[in-house]
């Protein structure tokens, strides 16, 4: 492990922690603009986190230790995930610890804990939310894996840094299979991050909410951690998308100075990505929960076709 590696690893985690709420704020702002509403401040997320951290955390009487531990576990998972996804540099000491498959496992781990915690209290909403969350999860994970495999097939590696290095620094080639993977990935990320066609992040309507139902019982610093983890998850997904489909502008192993230069590129790419997300959310309507399996099945199919296209005869 070189010093520059350590530096870029730490920088990357710090950037993730700091930028994640900003990304959420940016998406909300774009959404408000597109919907002709007056936009909330970009800093709103930070202020909310600060407010929540200062508040007392109320926990239900019958809550088990699991309920208290869950926010920390979830937050830890997401922070680790943002650590192993290459955003600024491919020289990450943590990356050998977890490849693309382990990354999906990390997300699944967090999902299991938040669902268990939601059922822990025994309220109806929590259980319902947990059920729906698991439904989405078990459909979305295989699709995400297939997307990552499409990229792995091209680059002959399941390590995320390996994939990015090959894609970004190899000879530029148009991969048709990545077009399918890209569409599939977009669908999966919308579902995983509780965005509009699947879930509405700004609603608390009993019958439709999924993600919000899970965290109804949390308050104070627990809620703050979970909200922050949510932002981190969206940040992580955006970075996976950027790493797979737009990997250019990232620093290489032997160019530590470039890590700093990669930062503005990343911010620029994220800004565009966030605006596109807001656009998708504005133009599509939320679908009924029964349609979600179909939505995710589509994503899975597309990812599989992407892999098939890779094996196109004669190509």
């Amino acid at each position: 492990m070189s010093w520059s590696g350590l530096f870029s690893q730490l920088l990357e985690i710090a950037v993730a922690l700091l930028l994640a709420p900003l990304l959420t704020g940016w998406v909300n702002q774009c959404r408000a603009w597109l919907q002709n509403k007056s936009a909330p401040s970009l800093m709103l997320q930070y202020r909310m986190l600060r407010k929540l951290f200062h508040k007392e955390s109320v926990v239900a009487e019958h809550a088990s230790p699991l309920f208290r531990a869950a926010p920390y576990i979830v937050f830890g998972c997401m922070a680790l995930a943002s650590g192993i996804i290459p955003t600024l540099s491919t020289d990450l000491p943590l990356s050998p610890a977890a490849d693309a498959i382990a990354l999906v496992g990390l997300f699944a781990f967090a999902r299991v804990f938040i669902s268990l915690a939601a059922m822990d209290i025994g309220t109806a909403f929590g259980t319902m939310g947990a059920r729906r969350e698991m439904l989405i999860g078990f459909l979305a994970e295989p699709a995400l894996l297939m997307v990552l495999f499409s990229a792995s097939l091209i680059t002959q590696s399941t390590s995320l840094t390996g994939i990015v290095e090959t894609l970004a620094h190899g000879k530029f080639t148009i991969y048709p299979s990545m077009a399918f993977a890209g569409v599939a990935f977009t669908l999966v990320s919308l579902a995983e991050n509780a965005r509009v066609p699947v879930d509405n992040p700004s609603t608390h309507l009993e019958l439709t909410m999924i993600h919000e139902a899970l965290i109804l019982e949390y308050s104070g610093r627990h809620l703050a951690l979970i909200e922050w983890a949510g932002s981190l998850k969206m940040f992580a997904y955006s970075c996976i998308g950027l790493a797979l489909f737009f990997p250019w502008g990232m620093a290489e192993v032997d160019a530590p100075g470039a890590t700093i230069l990669a930062l503005p590129v990343l911010v620029f790419k994220l800004a565009i990505g966030g605006a596109l997300l807001a656009l998708i959310e504005t133009v599509s309507a939320k679908m009924r929960i029964f349609r979600v399996p179909e939505f995710l099945a589509t994503a899975f199919m597309l990812a599989v076709i992407g892999m098939l296209v890779h094996f196109l005869p004669g190509a």
Partner: protein, 221 residues
């Protein structure tokens, strides 16, 4: 040389877009979106044909691209739009099999088509020969769309999208058919769409619906 490589890769990309759009059409419930997707598919076809024409310097392919552009991207979608406006249907696409099952069968069809294309691909020396499997897959997928849709308009769109797949197969394998034949095919397709449009009015007049499940009275008994 570098440029050439990118152009050939972009043919593959457009081919994949065709396949992607075929799948999108297979999973689409709304008629209006279906027509948009069909238009897009036509556009992807035109783009692929133009690139093939440019790379191989086959001038007649420019003409066939132009024919496709006029018929598949402008005239036919326009006719379809006017048709659904006048018939006042926008939402009504019903499938006979649920969509995830359809998609699953669709994947099997793609695998089958790729295997079917293997001996042909070996024979063809065209620069786009690797996309033949995709063309066959598009044909089979549209075929399935025709089978699984209960309404008249989606069936027709399935038929037209099958024609797209066939056209692409011709471009990919042999740089298109002779000009006379392509004109003939385009003419037949146009006339066919026109006749079907007239038919739909009459079917609705007779049955008060465009559900072709009404069209099952004639049985062998």
């Amino acid at each position: 040389m570098m440029m050439q490589a990118y152009l050939i890769q972009s043919i593959n990309l457009f081919a994949s877009a065709l396949l992607l759009l075929s799948f999108a059409m297979l999973s689409q419930r709304r008629i209006l979106t279906l027509i948009h997707l069909f238009t897009l598919q036509g556009a992807a076809l035109v783009a692929a044909t133009v690139v093939v024409a440019y790379v191989t310097d086959q001038h007649h392919l420019y003409y066939s691209a132009a024919i496709t552009l006029v018929t598949k991207v402008f005239v036919i979608p326009l006719l379809l739009h006017r048709l659904i406006d006048r018939l006042n249907i926008k939402w009504d696409v019903e499938t006979l099999i649920n969509i995830p099952t359809t998609m699953l069968i669709g994947i099997l069809l793609v695998v089958f088509a790729f295997n079917l294309a293997l001996p042909i691909v070996k024979l063809s020396s065209s620069i786009a020969h690797s996309t033949l499997g995709i063309a066959l897959a598009c044909v089979l997928l549209s075929f399935m769309m025709m089978i699984t849709r209960a309404k008249a308009v989606p069936q027709v769109i399935g038929f037209l999208s099958m024609e797209n797949g066939l056209f692409f197969a011709a471009t990919a394998a042999t740089y298109g058919m002779p000009m006379v034949v392509e004109f003939g095919i385009a003419f037949d397709v146009l006339v066919g769409v026109f006749i079907l449009g007239v038919f739909m009015f009459q079917i609705r007049e007779q049955f008060d619906s465009l559900d072709i499940r009404h069209l099952e009275k004639l049985k062998d008994d």
